[in-house]
């Protein structure tokens, strides 16, 4: 279980434009397979996880990290992630924020409303579906380092340490909330 401490509600770092540019030619399929595997695993372990989505269980959510050259389309029923260069029309809702903010949201380390009030998170489309998704994720208490390292079998422990270090780098300390004063 992840440490529920909130990270600083101040702005989190963004991916430098040069790094994003270097990522542009990368193939998307490997990332899609990894993320799809993680989502399936989370769902297998806790089949009731998406119950909170209620009537929005079949919604298609477009997630756009504003500092990356690709985006995600996420569906809960059946659990599926597609990695795409651009979000296409026809999605139920779109959520855009920096990668760091999206990851912190996923782990419940930042408050979605606070990000919206400070304009670091932009929502378009079905606001009710987005709220249902936000509440579902917030209750799930996800720990991305644990989820990702589980894909590494016997190398899980060192992989987990590596992911924790990467998380610390991207979304800040995983220790006590370093709130702004």
């Amino acid at each position: 279980m992840n440490d529920p401490s909130a990270v600083s509600p101040g702005p989190l770092p963004t991916i430098p434009p040069l790094v994003a540019l270097a990522m542009r030619p990368l193939p998307l399929l490997p990332l899609q397979l990894v993320l799809g595997g993680v989502l399936q695993r989370i769902h297998r372990r806790n089949p009731a996880i998406f119950d909170r989505l209620g009537a929005h269980a079949r919604a298609r959510f477009g997630i756009k990290p504003i500092d990356l050259p690709f985006a995600f389309v996420v569906e809960a029923k059946p659990p599926r992630v597609s990695v795409v260069r651009e979000l296409t029309p026809g999605l139920d809702a779109r959520i855009s924020a920096s990668l760091a903010n999206l990851l912190a949201l996923l782990e419940g380390r930042v408050d979605g409303d606070a990000l919206m009030f400070s304009r670091e998170l932009v929502i378009e489309g079905d606001v009710e579906a987005v709220l249902a998704l936000r509440n579902t994720i917030d209750d799930a208490q996800l720990d991305l380092a644990t989820e990702l390292s589980s894909l590494f079998g016997p190398l899980g422990a060192p992989a987990r340490r590596a992911f924790e270090a990467a998380r610390g780098h991207v979304i800040g300390s995983s220790g006590q909330g370093e709130q702004s004063r």
């Binding site: 606070a114 304009r119 009710e128 209750d139």
Partner: protein, 326 residues
């Protein structure tokens, strides 16, 4: 020491509130019987039972809000909610409707009752009515009173008083606002949701964001201007005198600096609004007030983090507690 009453919209938030030092957590069922009936929020019967077990294990209390007004022909839904909350072991029920209070007092005479803010009990006579007729033990005061008024009411009341110290503001006499009904057909009083997200749209334009509710434009925010949820009473109006907020600004209540006055006024419990907010909010705001209360007790200076990032519009107010208008 005054009790700290904290919100939880999910079992995970309930656990965060306990970890952060809540004395009691208030929550509701995932239906129209509670005034925060948002999608993906609230507790199933099973989740409530488990939440109560966890809280009791950790020395905290659970208050179950059943604080909307029963619909004619569907009163059973509210009666069932009361029965289930009592059977789950709730420490208190937070009720707004007198019919429901009557039902609870008759059916479950030993169950502790709190009068919800939605009942708008704002004077000693109204409070005495709830105490004498239904045995209510505490009243959550509406957010329209100043600290001296709270002191006077507390002095004259047989009930304990609980007041809001942080979170969203509802500026009308609570439980009596029909703005949301008018614009969307759904109200906090009946369906448990003011300005429901199903009717919200955010439109991104070159000038910034336009927020609407049920087709009514509520606000436009410039690209770098702090934003707010399009709650109906927080609309910005363009008039010949310029643009501005008429009923309420998009700000949050923060009464951290008034804790001493509230304690001296005889207030029993302090309530944090925000069952619709995430774990990070619950964790940070509860910890903030836990530290502030400890500092108040020890007479030391509180060295506590600012809650500004969690406030709507990135701004806070003392609301009616310090009145500059009337």
């Amino acid at each position: 020491m005054m009790e700290l009453i904290c919100p939880a919209g999910t079992p995970a938030a309930l656990k965060s509130a306990i970890d952060a030092g809540a004395d009691a957590i208030y929550c509701g069922f995932n239906d129209e019987t509670n005034a925060r009936n948002f999608p993906g929020l609230n507790f199933s019967r099973d989740e409530l039972r488990k939440g109560i077990a966890l809280a009791h294990d950790r020395g905290a209390k659970i208050l179950v809000a059943i604080n909307t007004f029963p619909r004619a022909s569907a009163v059973d839904i509210w009666h069932r909610a009361v029965d289930d909350a009592v059977n789950a072991g709730a420490d208190a029920l937070i009720l707004a409707d007198i019919g429901l209070m009557d039902y609870t007092a008759r059916r479950h005479p030993s169950q502790r009752l709190h009068v919800s803010v939605q009942a708008a009990a704002a004077n000693p006579d109204a409070i005495a009515f709830y105490a004498e007729n239904f045995g209510a033990r505490r009243v959550v005061l509406p957010r329209v009173l100043s600290v001296p008024e709270i002191a006077e009411i507390t002095r004259e009341s047989a009930c304990e008083t609980e007041v809001f110290v942080f979170g969203g503001l509802c500026v009308m006499a609570e439980g009596r606002c029909s703005l949301s009904s008018y614009a969307t057909g759904k109200s906090p009083n009946m369906q448990g949701v003011c300005s429901p997200p199903s009717h919200v749209t955010y439109e991104q334009t070159a000038e910034g964001t336009k927020s609407s509710l049920g087709g009514f434009t509520i606000n436009r925010f410039g690209v770098s201007e702090p934003a707010g949820y399009p709650t109906l009473c927080k609309g910005r109006f363009s008039t010949a005198q310029g643009a501005g907020y008429i009923f309420e600004d998009p700000v949050s209540l923060d009464a951290t600096t008034l804790l001493r006055g509230l304690r001296d006024a005889g207030v029993t419990a302090l309530k944090i609004e925000g069952r619709q907010r995430g774990r990070a909010y619950v964790e940070s705001v509860v910890r903030h007030f836990r530290h502030a209360l400890a500092a108040l007790e020890s007479g030391s200076e509180a060295d506590i983090a600012s809650l500004k990032p969690f406030t709507e519009g990135q701004a806070s107010t003392l609301g009616a507690y310090r009145k500059t208008w009337r």
